[in-house]
């Protein structure tokens, strides 16, 4: 964010508070309105988020990069024909187009026996997130999971896909587990946030209660290494207990409660002794 310029009427005596929060505080004022720089900063952030929502999925580029790293891939399309229909009909984004479903069936026939893990990559609400984070994240995941020895399907790319499309992909491939990497709804300051959703024993019609989510994977958010670490914890636990979703999460959450309490104990300047 650019600094707010000084202006006769925009005195900004609490600027130092900015280091305490990423919120857009201490913007100053002209009259009672936003100064020009702050106003345009916001418009640019919104424009970036909008552009991320409408950016086309560069699946060709991604497949090329995957193949350079020795990974096969398949390209599929959801039942949502375009972005306009994708945004208004979430039900269509959750299902595969019939041609794509057929392609997967053929693949499964040619490679019988199923797999342990299917990785799906969908544009979701930010193709930008997928373009930026797919390869480095997958590299970390592979590095950390080499010892698990899971069999995998080719990476499945889904255009105009939503989270639940992974259920259909997983079911058709006979996968024991699916992980879908998907672009999250862009925030003003996070146009490229990647979400990871994990499901054990996927099949069409599962609700979110059967999934585990790891959110906010991006440079300013959760690191690739930490995201891979958390995901592998969930996957190994899921294999052991043969389930995923809310029942799996309960135990994994114990760790975060303690740190919450620590945060709450920290003082703040509005309440310190005068």
């Amino acid at each position: 964010m650019a600094n707010t310029p000084h202006h006769d009427n925009s005195s900004n005596p609490w600027l130092e508070l900015r280091r305490l929060t990423p919120a857009r505080i201490a913007l100053g004022r002209t009259g009672t309105s936003l100064p020009t720089a702050a106003q345009l900063d916001f418009q640019f952030a919104h424009a970036q988020a909008r552009d991320a929502v409408h950016l086309a999925f560069d699946h060709g580029g991604l497949r090329e990069q995957l193949s350079e790293r020795g990974r096969d891939s398949l390209l599929l399309h959801s039942a949502a024909a375009d972005r306009h229909s994708y945004l208004q009909r979430p039900d269509l984004g959750r299902r595969l187009h019939e041609d794509s479903a057929q392609l997967l069936r053929q693949h499964a026939q040619a490679n019988p026996g199923g797999v342990d893990l299917a990785i799906i990559v969908a544009d979701g609400l930010s193709a930008l997130a997928v373009h930026r984070h797919t390869l480095p994240f997958l590299a970390r995941l592979e590095e950390q999971s080499a010892a698990d020895g899971w069999s995998t399907a080719p990476v499945v790319l889904v255009e105009q896909g939503r989270v639940a499309v992974a259920d259909e992909v997983g079911e058709l491939l006979g996968a024991k587990m699916t992980v879908i990497l998907i672009g999250e709804r862009p925030g003003l300051s996070s146009p490229d946030s990647l979400g990871l959703y994990f499901t054990y024993n996927p099949k069409v019609g599962l609700t979110d209660a059967y999934r585990n989510c790891i959110s906010n994977v991006r440079l300013e958010g959760l690191s690739y290494g930490m995201a891979a670490h958390r995901l592998l914890y969930l996957m190994r636990e899921a294999c052991r207990r043969q389930l995923s979703g809310v029942n799996l999460k309960d135990e994994a959450q114990v760790q975060t409660l303690e740190s919450d309490t620590d945060v709450a104990k920290n003082g703040n300047f509005l309440l310190s002794k005068p």
Partner: protein, 464 residues
């Protein structure tokens, strides 16, 4: 079930139920298309509006959109309907009600008396045949005044909920946003945090912190941490200071079940809040949030259009004498409200219907980045709701909620509404702002003090 036939010229339109007329009469919005209940074209929509206009209001008391036996919200609506209050309009059709609402017979007093005589379905029905200016004009006649530590909803007043959210609930970060808001004169409706973490320990810590800030600076406002009602009850049982009891609610029993609540749970929350007796001016203490599309997204809409489902939520709300109700209009996303036009219309409908039913309505004038909407759309809705006399709006630093990742009205936006429409904060808060030297308001103009209030200057000095 009645069927309704309407003829326009040589075209005959048939609707098989009141539910179908209502749904097809709804101004177009994506959620009703998603649910498959919308009119198939513009002509059918207006024909449905014409058919709806001819339906007697009394018919709404005999044909429930969601069966009485299946849904406790329907039972609440029917069982609490006040026939005496209804008498003044009981001879009218839906179209006749619109004419009456716009007439001189409908004023602040007569509309207040009518509120318990109207069902949500009647309110929703009449809104469907009203234009934006009708929704504004009638709502402006109505005042719904509530009290806790401040007075909400007086004529010529607009309050704000200071929403100092932080992605990790960091106390100093929350405090920074609170101070920013207070220094822009924001926060008389409440200081209300959406917590990032829903653990009871962290909720209690936030409640303690808000209470301490309100006491230290003697701010005539109320605190709220937006957690599940059962968590608030738990906090109260632990002896934590809690002003407003929050809950998201919807207009069907099944949708409320998806939120993990029912009327009985809400009653327990309300009674727990009352037991603390923390209001100094009054005991309105429930804070509800709603929004069109919530029933559909829980697949709990019973084929009823989303605006009617939303209005039914206000029957749930008014049963608990709430302090404020907030329709979070653009948060749910484009599959329910696609663009600025749909969001604006929905916000005005919700405000109108809520007020007509006697609910202290506010609006989270907001949008997400995947909706076809922007700041200009929010400016339009804010201006319209300001004219319509809305009780409160949100206030957030620079319109950017960094925890919930959506855009809502900023501290500056509220000041814009004060300047252009001459709207003042709640009287108690107005006096506090003057006392602190933050700002005064005369003839609409906002005059800021020349210096930081000494108490806050001292707090800032702690930062070194």
């Amino acid at each position: 079930m009645a069927s309704f036939v309407h003829t326009v010229g040589n075209q005959i339109f048939r609707f098989d139920s009141l539910k179908e007329v209502m749904a097809k009469a709804s101004p177009a919005r994506s959620g009703d298309f998603l649910a498959g209940v919308a009119a198939s074209n513009d002509g059918e929509r207006v024909a449905a509006q014409m058919a709806l206009a001819d339906i007697p209001l009394k018919h709404f008391l005999s044909e429930a959109l969601i069966p009485y036996e299946d849904d406790e919200v329907t039972r609440l609506i029917i069982d609490t309907h006040d026939a005496n209050a209804f008498a003044v309009v009981s001879h009218l059709t839906v179209g006749g009600l619109r004419d009456w609402l716009l007439s001189e017979a409908a004023d602040e007093t007569s509309l207040r008396a009518l509120a318990p005589g109207l069902t949500p379905e009647m309110a929703a029905a009449v809104s469907k045949i009203m234009r934006v200016q009708d929704l504004v004009l009638v709502a402006q006649k109505i005042r719904v005044v509530t009290r806790f530590r401040g007075t909400m909803g007086l004529r010529g007043r607009l309050s704000t909920r200071l929403q100092p959210n932080h992605p990790t609930d960091e106390p100093a970060g929350i405090a920074a946003s609170i101070l920013d808001g207070l220094l822009y004169g924001n926060g008389d409706a409440m200081i209300g945090i959406n917590p990032a973490t829903d653990s009871i320990a962290s909720i209690c810590a936030l409640l303690e912190m808000l209470d301490a800030i309100i006491q230290r600076y003697d701010i005539p406002t109320q605190a709220c941490v937006l957690t599940h009602v059962t968590t608030s009850i738990e906090a109260i049982n632990r002896g934590v200071p809690l002003d407003l009891v929050f809950q998201s609610i919807a207009g069907t029993e099944a949708a409320n079940a998806s939120f993990g609540i029912n009327l009985n749970v809400l009653k327990e929350g309300y009674e727990a809040g009352l037991s603390l007796n923390r209001g100094t001016l009054g005991q309105n203490l429930m804070y509800f949030e709603t929004g069109q599309g919530s029933a559909l997204s829980a697949n709990a809409h019973h084929g009823v259009d989303q605006q009617t489902c939303e209005t039914r939520a206000y029957a749930v709300a008014r049963h608990f004498k709430p302090f404020l109700v907030n329709t979070v209009v653009g948060f749910i996303g484009p599959e329910y409200l696609y663009n600025g036009k749909q969001i604006i219309r929905a916000g005005l409908e919700d405000h109108f219907c809520g007020k007509l039913l006697g609910v202290p309505m506010g609006c989270d004038i907001c949008y997400t980045n995947h909706a076809e909407a922007d700041q200009d759309d929010m400016d339009m809705l804010l201006t319209l709701l300001g004219v319509a006399g809305i009780n409160f709006i949100m206030g957030i630093p620079g319109s950017d909620d960094i925890m919930l990742n959506y855009q809502t009205t900023s501290f500056h936006d509220a000041l814009y509404a004060r300047q252009t429409l001459g709207l003042k904060p709640a009287p108690e808060f107005e006096a506090w702002l003057a006392r602190m030297g933050i700002f005064t308001q005369a003839d609409g103009r906002v005059r800021f003090g020349d210096n930081l209030p000494p108490a806050f200057r001292q707090a800032l000095a702690q930062l070194g």
